[in-house]
């Protein structure tokens, strides 16, 4: 969806721009809701990790990127992939393991990627995307391009070594990379704060001289404004930036995890008062967007994505021979 080019302003958001981002959030929410149902119905074979509740960050950051910018993602990567512009039908096919999936059915949800829109891959290993994004930024710098790399990761990743190595590298070489920490408070099923020392992700980044912006990650306009400023700063050659976006994972670690380890009152409070989609809807209503207009956006996404999923489930399985292709050129399987 084309977005107005006027720079976003958190204090005075533009209704048309915000409505476009709202549509992206709905696309992510509906995509993952349908994927979850398909998983539970046995139509998606592998585990999937849902970003329901975290959509504002993907939608707003994605809206501030050019198509030739690149990003790396995590095991919870559907939202980033959609926000970067991937085709939901190819994504559904990938999740369902069908021919025509973004990766031909070889990756699945955890390795979803669409290089045609600069999405360099979800990743099954926590924090693995950080050095890859920094290396992509290094290549961009080497080639003298004005693209940028964006790296999404969770709070859990900040306790792995590659987090430190990648941030240090990006700062030392002053690379065009935006780090986006989606802090949902949990690393898999453990509260991150209970196993982490110090002042959190932002303090760690600041200790390496990387400027940190903290944002309410469920406030769509706020994330949009922050992302716009940070993307601009990175693109102008100012070196890496770090966006610490506080959010909440509405579902479990995987779609099969009921997440009963979380305090019921905490979950209830988040669901009731911190749904980024409902909060964005309220902001849009305040800007004069009618309930009908919001309903139309949601209905459009529901209809389009239900049709896409049905098409995906109707798609052929990949040819077994493709299991043996794209391993390597030299010494390929016989």
């Amino acid at each position: 969806m084309a977005l107005p080019s006027s720079p976003p302003d958190a204090a005075a958001p533009d209704a048309e721009r915000l409505l476009g981002l709202y549509a992206t959030m709905q696309r992510i929410r509906v995509f993952e809701t349908l994927a979850d149902e398909a998983h539970k119905a046995g139509q998606v074979a592998g585990y999937i990790h849902l970003s329901i509740g975290q959509e504002a960050i993907a939608a707003a950051v994605g809206a501030n990127l050019r198509e030739d910018d690149v990003l790396t993602s995590t095991h919870r990567g559907h939202g980033h992939t959609i926000a970067k512009g991937a085709d939901p039908l190819a994504m559904f096919r990938e999740l369902c393991g069908r021919a025509g999936g973004t990766c031909g059915g070889k990756g699945g949800s955890m390795h979803i990627a669409d290089f045609s829109v600069g999405m360099l891959g979800a990743n099954g290993v926590v924090a693995a995307g950080l050095p890859i994004a920094v290396g992509a930024a290094h290549a961009i710098a080497l080639k003298g391009e004005d693209r940028i790399a964006v790296c999404f990761f969770g709070d859990g990743a900040t306790n792995r070594g590659p987090f430190l190595e990648a941030l240090n590298w990006a700062a030392a070489f002053r690379l065009p990379v935006l780090f986006v920490c989606e802090d949902n408070g949990y690393g898999a099923t453990t509260r991150t704060g209970s196993v982490s020392a110090g002042g959190g992700p932002g303090v760690r980044a600041e200790s390496l001289g990387i400027p940190v912006t903290v944002v309410d990650g469920n406030d769509l306009a706020a994330v949009d404004a922050a992302a716009a400023a940070l993307v601009r700063a990175v693109r102008e050659g100012g070196g890496p930036q770090f966006l610490h976006a506080r959010t909440y994972r509405f579902r479990g670690h995987t779609s099969s995890d009921p997440a009963t380890y979380r305090d019921a009152a905490e979950v209830q409070a988040q669901l009731a008062g911190n749904d980024p989609i409902r909060r964005a809807a309220a902001t849009l209503a305040g800007l004069g967007v009618t309930p009908d207009a919001l309903e139309r956006v949601e209905r459009h996404e529901r209809e389009a994505l239900a049709a896409a999923l049905a098409t995906a489930l109707d798609s052929p399985w990949p040819d077994l021979g493709t299991a043996f292709t794209d391993v390597q050129d030299i010494g390929a399987p016989q």
């Binding site: 990627a113 290089f115 290549a139 080497l142 030392a172």
Partner: protein, 327 residues
């Protein structure tokens, strides 16, 4: 032809590829001042600090960064300093570099080379002496090279840099000063996956690579005095490996001895032994044999380190044992 050391041959191979292709760059710890073994001497002065990049001591970021840079179409040549240190970057090599092309359905290639100095050298003990080639041969997606001569280090490194696959290039630390003739003409390279016949012989096929080649050559001289003639093949390339050359030789000699510096248990010799036993069972005159290091960490003391070494007399004795074998 030029007479060069293994070190200088590798340096020239990288210099030629840096000069030929602006997408090629190299990164690693201390390479600006020549690298630990002098194999990068002068390259930063010639090609500048943005193409010969000194990095922090961050193996995961060096390797992972190279993956990201390769996905964007550059061709990084990664230095890991010692193969032992590459273990700090196993996720980045095994889970990322080796699998990105496949997992993403062929959307991208990962054209990188990771150089890992291997082997026993200068009493460096358990964390600076390992030969872990079998780990990498086990990983689909990787090409694994282990040159034993200056010409092969030159020709294989050039082929590796030009390849679109992720390549693990294992250079033996004890061979850096070894000299040999190297053809430096034009685009000459060594084809990956083709073994080199080091010596023709009639009684026992000895398959080896890297630091094992010199030992096998010495063993051949010893064995000759006992009337045993060794047919020595240097595999040079471990994945892919030259199955045809090995089977042809064993079909003639009827006897196989695999020699490697790595720990014998689950070493790459096991794969060769199993392949030959399977393919040539009826043609064998003796059981297939392997000779590798015992399953101990490499010890430090000059009095202890020999326990980890394969020696020419041991190779010659093993070969003689195969010739005299009776069921």
């Amino acid at each position: 032809m030029s007479r060069l050391t293994y070190r200088e041959a590798a340096r020239l191979a990288l210099a030629h590829e840096l000069a030929a292709d602006p997408a090629v760059w190299t990164l690693g710890e201390d390479i600006g001042r020549g690298g630990v073994f002098g194999q990068y001497q002068g390259l930063q002065a010639e090609f500048g600090p943005t193409r010969v990049v000194d990095t922090p001591i961050s193996e995961a970021a060096i390797m992972g960064g190279a993956v990201g840079a390769a996905l964007l179409g550059t061709r990084p040549v990664v230095e890991m300093r010692f193969s032992d240190f590459a273990l700090c970057a196993v996720d980045e090599l095994v889970n990322q570099a080796a699998k990105a092309r496949y997992m993403f359905g062929g959307q991208a290639r990962v054209p990188l080379v990771v150089r890992q100095p291997v082997g026993l050298w200068s009493n460096s003990a358990a964390q600076h002496s390992q030969s872990l080639e079998s780990w990498y041969v086990h990983i689909p997606g990787l090409v694994v090279l282990a040159p034993a001569t200056p010409a092969d280090n030159y020709g294989l490194l050039r082929a590796a840099i030009r390849s679109d696959d992720p390549v693990v290039h294992l250079e033996h630390k004890d061979l850096w000063p070894a000299e040999g003739e190297v053809p430096l003409d034009g685009d000459w390279e060594v084809p990956i996956g083709v073994a080199r016949r080091v010596r023709e012989g009639r009684d026992v096929t000895v398959v080896t690579w890297s630091g094992g080649v010199r030992i096998a050559e010495e063993a051949a001289t010893l064995a000759e005095t006992q009337g045993v003639s060794l047919d020595i093949l240097d595999l040079r390339s471990l994945w892919p490996w030259d199955r045809g050359a090995v089977l042809d030789s064993v079909a003639r000699t009827g006897r196989l001895l695999v020699v490697h510096e790595a720990v014998e248990v689950a070493g790459f010799g096991a794969e060769i032994a199993a392949t030959v036993a399977d393919a040539l069972f009826g043609a064998l005159k003796a059981p297939v044999r392997r000779l590798g290091a015992p399953r101990i960490p490499v010890p430090y003391s000059p009095a202890l380190e020999p326990a980890s070494r394969i020696t020419a007399p041991a190779v010659a004795a093993a070969a003689a044992g195969l010739v005299s074998w009776r069921s």
